[in-house]
Symmetry: C2
Subunit: 260 residues, 2 copies
């Protein structure tokens, strides 16, 4: 990377793979703000959550080296990409980590399954201001024009204000035009989950295998949730933490008297 430290150093990754439209658009916007280093998976890694590769090897290949932008493709998970970038590729700590733009929603409970968001969480663990972006459109040909405006606004603010300590931001963008987006709302994660289904199929030898499918079920009707905001054409931003301690539950557990 250039040693021009006047400009912010921005690390970019995703979970849809380095060739996905979402990350290509994110890289374009990131270049407006600083020096860009991309370390992203060489294949789709959706649903990989916070997985790291401990039982297999990792490979890293430089695929682009231009003024202001370097790109590496990696055989690992999104979290592997972040770790490799920090501990192997970069010679200084990035000023910002951007993950996405994911092809598909990462609101509510999806934050824990999402490779895109887990990469941002890993950045936060490392003390890097980190933001994950997701567009509510699964299509490989999704239009990211409105998303790019949102990324610009959020990145500008993050470079000016930083990110609240020990958090990262989960930004979801509704599938509407820029004009239809009503604004940005700071939200909590809706209390929702998946009612999963496993489609059984037969392989040529007659043995059964399964594909996971499922239905997102949201009984949480609060107007302060990410799901509500997106349903009403707002961009949702949820601050996400990696301290999973349920502090409020500690008193109840202490009453159980394990040692008596």
């Amino acid at each position: 990377m250039s040693q021009d430290n006047q400009r912010p150093l921005i690390l970019v990754t995703n979970d849809d793979g380095i060739t996905a439209g979402g990350i290509r658009n994110l890289i374009e916007v990131a270049r407006e703000f600083g020096e860009v280093c991309v370390v992203a998976p060489d294949s789709p890694q959706s649903g990989m959550g916070h997985a790291i590769t401990v039982h297999d090897i990792l490979r890293l290949t430089k695929v682009r080296d231009e003024e202001g932008v370097e790109e590496y493709s990696c055989t690992g998970t999104p979290v592997d990409c972040v770790k490799l970038a920090i501990y192997r590729v970069l010679d200084r700590k990035p000023d910002l980590l951007l993950s996405g733009i994911n092809h598909g929603a990462n609101y509510s409970i999806n934050v824990i399954y999402s490779g895109t968001m887990s990469a941002a969480v890993e950045g936060a663990v490392e003390g890097i201001p980190s933001i994950g972006f997701s567009l509510l459109n699964h299509s490989a040909e999704a239009d990211f024009a409105a998303s790019k405006d949102v990324v610009r606004k959020v990145v500008r603010s993050a470079l000016k204000n930083g990110i609240p300590k020990s958090t990262c931001l989960n930004v979801n963008i509704p599938k509407v035009s820029a004009e239809e987006i009503k604004g940005i709302r700071i939200c909590r994660q809706a209390r929702a989950s998946w009612r999963d289904d496993f489609q059984p199929r037969q392989d040529p030898s007659g043995k059964t295998y399964y594909w996971i499918t499922g239905e997102f079920v949201n009984p949480d009707k609060g107007d302060d949730t990410d799901v509500w905001a997106l349903d009403h054409n707002y961009v949702s931003i949820v601050p996400v933490q990696f301290d999973l301690t349920a502090h409020h539950a500690m008193a109840e557990l202490n009453e159980w008297g394990y040692d008596t």
Copy 2:
């Protein structure tokens, strides 16, 4: 499974694979308390975090069917195992989910990388009282005698008291004899992280690949943490939540004035 609903139905899984010593010991203890259904990975899945299998098929094989215990091995991740158990294998909701006993620590930030703990978190998402157990001993030949006593104590309490709403329990057990264990402490997750390293090696064709390694760094000296408890020969129990919203950070973000 037997339709004898008098006894609790206990779902057992892990991330070290269905043949690991830890899960074999956990199954033995679980049988003392109820009907047991095991759905566990057919291969080691350490570090898989909350990964689910969306780009590949899943296979499920019944490997044991005896009075009071059924076992299935699964090609997927620990979270896949929990989902398959709930939505494909079991005909009623389990009364308890037990994950482990993991060969190695899952304290502090390791909770987010751990397949063992992610399985327990998935159980909590599904509203099942869920507990992950880990012994601070990576050895395949680890002695689980003291751990079994701990499991008995915690399971007895969970069947009596339940688990605090929307949480699961992360139980770590020090690598000492039962006599040396000083007791059980309810803890918060220590604020620590990994300083990763990637060992470069050359394959036979001369190309570089990497193995992840690293050093656990804990600057958090609080005596209310899981790391402190384990260092002092206590069993640590951290209540773990899946609402990742950093509620305390929402006010700060609202001051940023995105829409001005």
